[in-house]
Subunit: 118 residues, 2 copies
Amino acid sequence: MKYLLVVAHGSRRAESNDEVRELAAKLNKMEHGFDEVGAAFLELAEPLIPDGIISAIDKGATEVVVFPYFLSAGRHVVKDVPADVESVKEKYPHIKITSAPYLGESPKLLDVILELAG
Amino acid sequence: MKYLLVVAHGSRRAESNDEVRELAAKLNKMEHGFDEVGAAFLELAEPLIPDGIISAIDKGATEVVVFPYFLSAGRHVVKDVPADVESVKEKYPHIKITSAPYLGESPKLLDVILELAG
């Protein structure tokens, strides 16, 4: 079972966290190579990233792809999210846990911006 | 002269601000309906949003589109960026200054995420 975990920073504002959960729910309904899609947060909202990964494993995931829903390669993307991922990998060495490039890295964002600004 | 101003939060980390400036520079080289593209920040980096808009007007812009490079519709997108835009509109009533939908609002992000995570 292949699981996609969308991870965001997390906000004190519940609506912002719900936006991320809704994004994961929309992805869940789309056609792609993942059996399930969920959301997790670095801080301020639940589930936290390690809990999100472990929950996916408990559901039967043998492969978890962590997707950083961040625009810039700041400390969170470079250090904090990878540290959370590593902490779970050590406990579950038989599960394939990988990280995808963060959102801001996609050159497709340029087209998305032009379409919105058009 | 039609100007696109990409506005981001701004970070204490210079590299994050440079990522936004580079994004604007890339957009500047693409084919689209804008004569020039620049970047501005809500806080922590320069130019601040009002200065970015005024600088565009000083360069000859008669129309400025402000694009919020934000993932969630938090206070910054709902209140702070619009307040900055309004403050300049009051001073330059003859210039057309509008705001585009923020990045996180685009349904195209779903495809971008799946491509990165794929």
